[in-house]
């Protein structure tokens, strides 16, 4: 039995009639055509589907879309404003933290959640914060370097 659900996604109010069994991940990707959030396992184990719900990094494949009623969601598409890249996005490119790019959206959002709460993390704190985001390509080294570079540079309030 479909239910009407309202939520805010990337600053915009959205609403829809959603089957209660649908995950937030599928709702974002298929109903809202926000394909930037990736599906790596659909079981909450890889972090590729990470979005921010009220600022917290969450595996969207483990959230039912109806559970997101009234919440504020940020997906990777919501991070760059008017085609201007967020400092984390720029740092990822500059530091070589992107290879195949499949883990990247989730990784960047986990990084944003960390830096929003802890603007000057240690290297270990960065590693812990992204430990729920699996990457098979990079060995994580340049990802950690990119995130640390943002924390050490000036970061605008975004």
């Amino acid at each position: 039995m479909k239910r009407q659900v309202r939520m805010k996604v990337n600053g915009e109010e959205v609403e829809g009639w959603i089957d209660p069994r649908r995950t937030l991940l599928d709702f974002l990707r298929d109903d809202l055509n926000l394909g930037g959030t990736k599906k790596g396992c659909d079981l909450g184990n890889c972090g590729a589907c990470t979005v921010l719900i009220n600022g917290k990094p969450i595996n969207s494949c483990l959230v039912l879309a109806v559970e997101a009623e009234g919440q504020e969601i940020l997906t990777i598409e919501g991070l760059s404003e008017e085609k201007r890249l967020h400092p984390i996005q720029e740092a990822f490119i500059e530091h070589g933290a992107v290879q195949c790019g499949y883990c990247t959206p989730g990784m960047i959002l986990s990084a944003k959640a960390l830096l929003d709460e802890n603007p000057h993390p240690t290297e270990w704190e960065v590693r812990v914060a992204i430990s729920g985001n699996l990457c098979r390509c990079t060995g994580y080294k340049k990802i950690v370097e990119a995130i640390l570079s943002v924390s050490q540079g000036a970061m605008n309030d975004r």
Partner: protein, 770 residues
């Protein structure tokens, strides 16, 4: 040395923006109008006859558009041995073997339909141990092995479960052992592990009214897919189109046909020519249609002189290729070619067997047999060094190959940087200084790797009227950075900017033939093909420009977006002003540069002796040092630091080279310490990211990649390859470091804490006899 403006620079990835913004549409993301979703019913048994498949109830489910079984297309495909059914029509040979497929309006409906399909099986005895499978009385997994089409070099043994046997015989091996002062024999094993690229396999097939097939698929090998489909279906190649969607990682897991055949059958049967997509679930990724790395059993016997000179090396390698051959026969050859490592050994005897079992299918995986063989050799070399009382790095330096050395196959080696790698890595890690802290140790391991030879690449460079350029190549970007590196080469050659070059996505209707993106071959082979295409394009440009500039075409150069007369830079014309299209008024013409790269002097391996003067147009070399800390209470191993020196010929993009090395080191830590797909009677017990341990950001050591440049004379700007090498030397370096730290040698990967603890206890017991 030429002055280069773009090649040699650490330019960030050209596709970086798409990837950090989520705009990149991967194969797993792609949706087409009218698309249906496919799901596959898979065998729950490892070995059985398929007696009957009843799909009637599934066909009646609302939303189901078609259901297929093996009866719809009872044929097989396979690039090395044509042994693998599109859908099983007589037997199933592993748990996960496809028996039926459903195309429906959404995934949920398709899954529901699978539950409505009834299959009657007649179970057969199964075999899961490759040594058991080689016994004369073992159950035959492919009864008609002798009848299958196969590549000429594949030595399958009809009436057995062996689908390839690679042999190498150099000299009289018994003579080699007689010359030795010391003989040592040991057995090492590697586990079944999985690629775990984050993006799953995803394919869409669509058939048109003429029967022509179009595929959108995340493959590393568009032309191999095209060829295999064409040959197995009996369809002309120009009626099959393979379009490659951006890959979220490959590592060999997306080589050759994987999900494509499953979608093709559905697309052929569905009404109204609708496209059908199948995306594998993560569970399927671990063992079903998706492939694993060949588990291996490697027995090495070595003869050495007291002074540390290797005299003889003998090996038997058994590779468990699972239910179907896939790329197994090639992996078999590679595993053999790599033995006995980058060392001068006068007498060699190698046997590698590729064996069918009822286990998941093993295929291509970064290293391609190399990772298994090097694990065994480099663990063994350390054991030998200890017997001799020699430092492990000195022992290796003493025996390492050099420029002009003769390889195991009789090739005169050139472009050999292994000694420089050893020197750089031992210097960087202060190798001579013994670890003082208790429980800490250092280990070294070398590797070498060949590349697919012969293999061909071809390319087109289209120059648009405004001087910007489109590059048509079938090299597949899967995160390794090929698009960026090839753009650098084209921009350098034509004297234009990076942003003036665009690489068109691989599409067999548009981009010309390439062997495939694997074997660490693309920078070398496609780089060379593109240089040739650029020379061809420039020749055409110079002809027109010479006329306009009233100069001799031989006096012209292309630089900074213009064509100049050498020595008179004011005599120039911007490329965009050369008449190539609508501005053609009698002078000029459209420009397409064409370039092909082949290896005409490649030599086939002799089937009895494995001898060949050129089995690999270049060899890659590396030396790794691992620094570890072992906890004697828990058996846990922490890799503190990996230092990896790689002879890659020439770094076209040093940043990209670091990225490759670091990524492969990370994969190596997983292979060494934690990864294993555990099976029970052919059933995977841990096909998910929780129970199959992948290294996370918290498991990584410090990493120091060191680039060693030896400038290979046949490589573009001297470049060789780098995609695979950094994986192979990592696990043995770690194992050797563990031995240095606590005195135990683990010979079976992965080196899990329980194995370390057990070995430590056994060592303790031996030291204190009752």
């Amino acid at each position: 040395m030429e002055t280069l403006k773009i090649v040699g620079r650490s330019i960030p990835r050209i596709d970086g923006v798409d990837k950090v913004t989520g705009l990149c549409v991967f194969g797993a993301d792609l949706k087409l109008p009218g698309m249906l979703y496919g799901k596959v019913l898979r065998s729950p048994l490892p070995h059985a006859k398929v007696i009957h498949v009843d799909t009637s109830r599934a066909e009646r489910l609302s939303g189901v558009k078609t259901v297929v079984t093996g009866k719809d297309l009872p044929i097989t495909y396979g690039g090395a041995v044509r042994d693998q059914p599109y859908y099983c029509f007589e037997k199933v040979r592993y748990i996960g073997d496809p028996v039926a497929g459903v195309a429906a309006v959404d995934e949920e409906t398709a899954e529901e339909a699978l539950d409505l399909i009834r299959v009657e099986y007649e179970e057969l005895p199964a075999v899961f141990d490759p040594i058991r499978a080689m016994a004369p009385d073992a159950i035959r997994i492919h009864e008609r092995l002798g009848e299958y089409w196969h590549l000429p070099f594949v030595t399958l043994i009809p009436g057995s479960n062996v689908c390839n046997h690679f042999k190498l015989r150099k000299g009289d091996i018994e003579e080699g052992f007689r010359e030795a002062d010391l003989i040592e024999e040991d057995t090492y094993t590697t586990a079944m592990i999985q690629h775990c690229h984050l993006e799953p396999h995803a394919s869409i097939s669509q058939v048109d009214s003429t029967g022509a097939i179009t595929l959108w698929t995340n493959t590393q090998h568009p032309y191999s897919c095209l060829r295999d489909l064409s040959k197995s279906l009996g369809m002309p190649m120009n009626k099959i189109r393979v379009i490659v969607t951006p890959l979220g990682g490959g590592f060999g897991g997306k080589a050759w046909l994987k999900v494509e055949p499953l979608t093709v059958v559905l697309a052929m049967k569905v009404k109204n020519y609708r496209p059908v997509k199948i995306t594998l679930t993560r569970e399927e990724e671990f063992y079903a249609t998706s492939v694993v790395r060949h588990p291996s059993i490697i027995t090495i016997k070595s003869g050495i002189k007291k002074d540390g000179t290797l005299t003889a090396q003998k090996v038997r390698i058994i590779l468990d290729t699972g239910a179907y051959a896939d790329l197994g026969p090639m992996v078999t050859m590679w595993a053999g070619l790599v033995f006995p490592g980058p060392y001068k050994v006068p007498y060699i005897w190698t046997d590698v067997f590729c064996v069918y079992t009822n286990n998941p299918i093993a295929g291509a995986f970064r290293g391609f047999g190399n990772s298994q063989t090097i694990w065994a050799i480099e663990s063994h070399m350390d054991a030998l060094a200890e017997k001799l009382g020699m430092d492990p790095s000195e022992f290796r330096l003493k025996n390492a190959v050099e420029e002009g050395s003769i390889s195991a196959t009789g090739q005169v080696l050139n472009g050999v940087g292994i000694k420089e790698c050893i020197q750089k890595v031992t210097a960087a890690t202060k190798w001579k200084e013994k670890e003082k802290k208790e429980g800490r140790g250092k280990g070294i391991a070398l590797m070498h790797q060949p590349t697919a030879t012969p293999s061909a690449s071809s390319s087109f460079i289209k120059i648009k009227e405004d001087g910007t350029v489109e590059v048509l190549v079938s090299t597949v970007e899967m995160g390794q950075g090929s698009n960026t590196v090839l753009t650098q080469i084209v921009a350098e050659e034509l004297g234009i900017r990076m942003e003036d070059v665009r690489i068109v996505r691989p599409d067999t209707d548009i981009t010309p033939y390439d062997h495939g993106t694997s074997a660490s071959r693309s920078t070398f082979s496609m780089g060379n093909a593109l240089r040739a295409a650029a020379v061809d394009a420039k020749k055409q440009l110079f002809e027109i420009a010479a006329d306009l500039l009233e100069a001799n075409p031989l006096d012209l150069v292309a630089s900074e977006g213009s064509i100049y007369v050498k020595g008179s830079p004011e005599q120039k014309i911007p490329i965009g002003q050369i008449p190539m299209g609508s501005s053609y008024l009698g002078k000029g013409k459209p420009i397409i540069g064409k370039g092909t790269f082949t290896v005409p002097d490649a030599a086939r391996l002799d089937p009895e002796t494995g001898q060949s003067e050129n089995p690999s147009v270049f060899w890659m070399y590396a030396a790794h040092v691992a620094e570890v800390e072992v906890d004697r209470e828990t058996g846990k191993v922490k890799v503190l630091r990996m230092t990896a020196a790689h002879d890659l010929g020439r770094a076209i993009n040093p940043l990209a080279c670091e990225q490759q090395i670091e990524g492969a080191l990370g994969m190596g830590v997983g292979m060494a310490l934690m990864e294993e797909l555990k099976l029970e009677n052919g059933r995977p017990l841990n096909p998910n990211f929780v129970d199959y341990k992948l290294p996370t950001s918290m498991d990584m050591p410090e990493m120091e990649p060191i680039i060693v440049e030896t400038y290979h004379e046949r490589g573009p700007y001297g470049a060789k390859g780098l995609g695979e090498p950094a994986l192979s030397a990592t696990a043995p370096a770690i194992a050797n470091a563990i031995y240095d730290a606590v005195g135990v040698r683990i010979k079976n990967l992965p080196i899990t804490p329980d194995k370390v603890l057990k070995a430590l206890r056994e060592k303790e017991t031996k030291s204190f006899p009752k």
